[in-house]
């Protein structure tokens, strides 16, 4: 715990992570370029969906990231509430818009795929509805964070919402198993192994890695900006009082 407390100091954390930013940026661009090339050009068409299967390479990792970001945000919020590490709230705040963007990307690409494949842009089945709720939870978290004059109260209120809303994450994951839905069951993260052919699984994995690198890249930049904004606020206050 002492070690975590040491790295949870914003100055120490940024001292270590700031030099990583250009490397993470380069790795993100390289991985996503390779992943998109494989996904959009080099991988085969599907036996049923034809070329529309290419939407899947953008959609599926976005949906994974939507849930992964929310889980990180909930954990960071819990740490912020219980152990009062200021960096935890900062990390949760930095994650929210990234997660919301991934959720929106998953919703939009899913809709674009749904029209030609299912015959509809949208249905209110358990999977689609629970992901839409996830999007609203992100929006609510961001709004609540900014709803108080006192930043600390905003962070605490938003953290409670993030924790309560976490109940939605397992609902999203298992919605396709608990209830019958229009959305198909999981193809990769399932007990009996993936039901995606290897020639399609590799590009998908590369895209998922690219999205993850993007998340960490943006996360560090956003934490840096949040910490700096806090310092500026403190300086302004000191000047106003002197």
């Amino acid at each position: 715990m002492a070690m975590i407390e040491k790295y949870a100091n914003p100055t120490v954390f940024l001292g270590i992570t700031r030099p990583l930013v250009p490397w993470l940026g380069g790795a993100t661009v390289a991985t996503l370029s390779a992943g998109l090339y494989l996904a959009l050009f080099a991988s085969p068409a599907d036996y049923q969906q034809g070329e529309s299967v290419r939407i899947m390479y953008v959609h599926v990792p976005a949906a994974w990231m939507a849930m992964m970001c929310y889980t990180s945000m909930a954990i960071a919020s819990g740490v912020g509430l219980i152990w009062k590490h200021p960096l935890a709230h900062t990390a949760a705040r930095a994650t929210a818009p990234v997660g919301a963007a991934f959720t929106l990307l998953a919703l939009v690409t899913g809709s674009l795929w749904g029209k030609p494949m299912w015959g509809t842009w949208w249905v209110w089945d358990a999977r689609l509805t629970s992901v839409l709720i996830l999007f609203f939870l992100y929006i609510g978290y961001m709004a609540l964070n900014n709803a108080f004059d006192n930043a600390q109260r905003g962070a605490n209120a938003a953290a409670v919402l993030a924790l309560v809303g976490f109940v939605n994450v397992p609902i999203i994951k298992f919605s396709v198993e608990w209830w019958n839905t229009l959305h198909q069951p999981a193809s990769v993260m399932r007990m009996d192994g993936p039901t995606i052919h290897a020639s399609m699984l590799w590009p998908l994995g590369l895209m998922a890695l690219g999205y993850t690198l993007f998340y960490f890249w943006v996360l560090i930049i956003r934490i840096d900006a949040d910490v700096t904004a806090g310092k500026i606020r403190a300086l302004r206050q000191r000047r106003a009082h002197s």
């Binding site: 599907d46 049923q48 299912w118 015959g119 309560v164 609902i171 209830w179 019958n180 193809s187 020639s199």
Partner: protein
């Protein structure tokens, strides 16, 4: 107990209660969360006639009979029970025999009159060469002879 331990205990207990409450709510609303009903539900008589529902299952092999002016008759099966469906309109690209579909409409005199047909996609993704090879080897899951667990 230190204050942070108190807060941890509180968060864990509150989390358990929230999970329990949501779990109870979801199981109470199961009827409404389920996106479609099955031919089995129709056979058991739990679906009233003239009430708008969604009916889902596989399009039975050899049951698709196209008629005039976009009319099409087919059967939906859950491999045990089967319901006759009649529909007028454009079918989605993935609609074919043996494929999962979800139809929306009303049950009238034992026949399901649908005004919307959605194709359900399954969780299998593969290039056409691979699906051809599997079919040639007689291992295709829809062939029924080599279901998982038969061998």
């Amino acid at each position: 107990m230190k204050r942070k331990h108190k807060r941890l205990t509180f968060v864990v207990i509150a989390g358990l209660f929230i999970a329990l409450a949501v779990g109870l709510m979801l199981s109470a609303f199961e009827e409404n969360i389920v996106f479609f009903r099955t031919p089995g539900d129709v056979a058991s008589g739990s679906i009233e006639e003239d009430r708008r529902i969604r009916l889902g299952g596989l399009v039975e092999e050899g049951s698709v009979v196209p008629g005039a002016d976009g009319l099409v008759n087919f059967s939906i099966t859950d491999t045990v029970d089967t319901v006759q469906v009649t529909y007028v309109g454009i079918l989605p690209d993935l609609f074919r025999e043996g494929q999962g579909v979800i139809t929306e409409g009303k049950l009238m005199n034992g026949v399901f009159v649908a005004d919307e047909v959605l194709a359900k996609h399954d969780e299998n993704y593969m290039p056409p060469e691979v699906s051809d090879a599997i079919k040639e080897a007689g291992q295709w899951y829809e062939d029924g002879e080599h279901g998982s667990g038969d061998q």
